[in-house]
């Protein structure tokens, strides 16, 4: 059997399905539901077995269309930085507020992606977010939590 990344992904999915199936069997159901034709764990159990079945088939059967990915040409570093910025954005959006975190997220993302036109970067972050926020909060009446703007008295 030729081992390639697709097979490794299938193996991981097989392990995941086994874990899912184990967890499905652990679902606590009501005592009167234990022997019912259908209870909260029935469907997940079927799914667990289906996952094992399909991933096992993918592992065993030959793979005629092997996908080759040129890892050297992939931009892992920039992607990781972008993901990290998004995580920081997610972590701070509630505490700091929508306006400041979103604007900083956009500004930082433009910068790390190689943009250096500062004025355009600024326009497409701070004023852009302000306009978008006005559309959501002011026009469409969708609540946006923003402790920062509240602290400086811009938002009620």
């Amino acid at each position: 059997m030729n081992i390639n990344t697709t097979k490794i992904i299938s193996l991981l999915f097989f392990i995941f399905s086994a874990f899912y199936l184990y967890t499905a069997y652990q679902i606590q159901v009501f005592a009167f539901d234990e022997n019912a034709p259908f209870n909260a764990r029935t469907f997940p159990i079927y799914l667990g077995y289906a996952g094992l079945f399909f991933s096992a088939l993918k592992l065993i059967l030959p793979d005629p269309n092997t996908i080759k990915v040129e890892h050297k040409t992939l931009e892992y570093k920039k992607t990781a930085i972008l993901v990290l910025i998004a995580i920081i954005y997610g972590a701070t959006i509630l505490k700091v507020g929508y306006f400041l975190t979103t604007s900083l997220f956009l500004f930082a993302s433009y910068y790390f992606l190689g943009e250096r036109r500062w004025i355009l970067m600024f326009i497409l972050s701070f004023p852009f977010v302000a306009a978008f926020m006005y559309l959501l909060h002011g026009v469409l009446n969708i609540y946006l939590r923003d402790p920062f703007l509240q602290s400086i008295g811009v938002m009620g």
């Binding site: 209870n39 956009l106 993302s109």
Partner: protein
Amino acid sequence: MIDGILIGLTTALTFQNILMVMVGCFFGTIIGMLPGLGPMTAIALMIPITYGFDPATGLILMAGVYYGAVFGGSTSSILLNAPGVPGTVATSFDGYPMAQQGKAGKALAIAAWSSFAGGTLSAIYLLFMAPSLSKVSLSFRSPDYFALMILGLTAIAAFSSKGQFLKAMMMVVLGLMLASVGQDSLSDITRFTFNNMNLTDGISFVLVVMATFAMSEALTIILKRNDPTSAAKQVSLTELGSIKINKEERTKMYKTIPRSSVIGFLIGVLPGAGATIASFLAYGMERNVVSDEEKEKFGKGSVNGLSAPETANNAACSGSFVPMLTLGIPGSGTTAVMLGALLGFGVQPGPRLYMTNPEIFWSIIMSMYIGMVILLILNLPLIPYIARILAVPKNYLIPLILFFSVTGIYVMSFNNFDIYLMIGIAVVATYLRLYDFPMPPLILAFVLGGLMEENLRRSLLLSNGSWEFLWDRTLTACILATTIFIVLWHIYKTLTKNN
């Protein structure tokens, strides 16, 4: 019926109501284009406004918003691969590749014309068949719905190109597994939450679709930035192309639109089915009926592949009004919101609605046609401007896609956990996409997961645990036979190709 149609026309053609359709279509398109804000949100936002109007005008406004939002969702699917509306997920399969080939204008024009034709044809079907279709829709039982879900998932064979069937099936199972997280709908027992309160209500559809489509697309573009083949793609992205549809493409659409509109309308009529299943089924069926040469183009920018789901989802929008107006059963989440609004007006939908309130029943049907015309008039001239989104440099577009994705989740839940979960799913999806694991089957399974479990539960409980319900009813057996036929056909085609 003629009297009813005349009453409907008189009501729908008043200045106020035409204005409402226009306003609804315009705002619906804008809101639908914003990933995360689908027709349901758009209509929910309109409810307080509509209470100032009479019921017919209020519903006409909401119907306009509905069509507009569905068309707007198609626009973001085609241009950004970010379908904010479940019904437009299938649109992105061929619409986005077409846009990547520098034919964004054409893709939007095909979508606009297909939507118009689908909506118009289904309005005509609705006009003549609404009262009798309500009886047909009532004849569907849980086993039939379960079989229909299986058929919908089998259509993934249509999405998976050569050698991807097992990968697609794994994605189906993963989608169903994700849908099973949270409280069991009947017993309220929590499943796969690992004592995390944030997972009690399950994972939201918008979160999964944003993660697997919009966010993972953005990450893939960054990841493959130095890939010579994707660099070539980026050059072509700045070409917006013509919006003119040539004779060959028109011929393809003439064949696709009628059959997809019938599927869309009939699926839309079934309570709970809606535009999503309709668009996936129409896409799957279209792939099975076209020539082998055309079949190869599916997923790479096929005209048929774009036209079919676009026609079907709009046809289903009209179809979903049948159970809502005639039975009081919403055909989709969006019509459920509209049903709530209708009840708020003091109007009780049901089989007698078109006799007790003919002005409401028929004016909505008439306004659908007017809405389609207005949508076309509004959107076709705007296409060259809308398509310019693609000319935005990647350094700006990628952060903006991420921003829209996070905002979509943020305004829904105000929860950090959902944002982390979305980023996590997006990273996994990006890696899976590198190795050609298709995402559409995962999304379809995720959408159908809850409904599928619900219908299997009812069927098994009614049959006391026996699986005989699968062939007890003729309708169920027919749907299952179709499913088996599709699977066998797929295997046969694969084997003959390999030989």
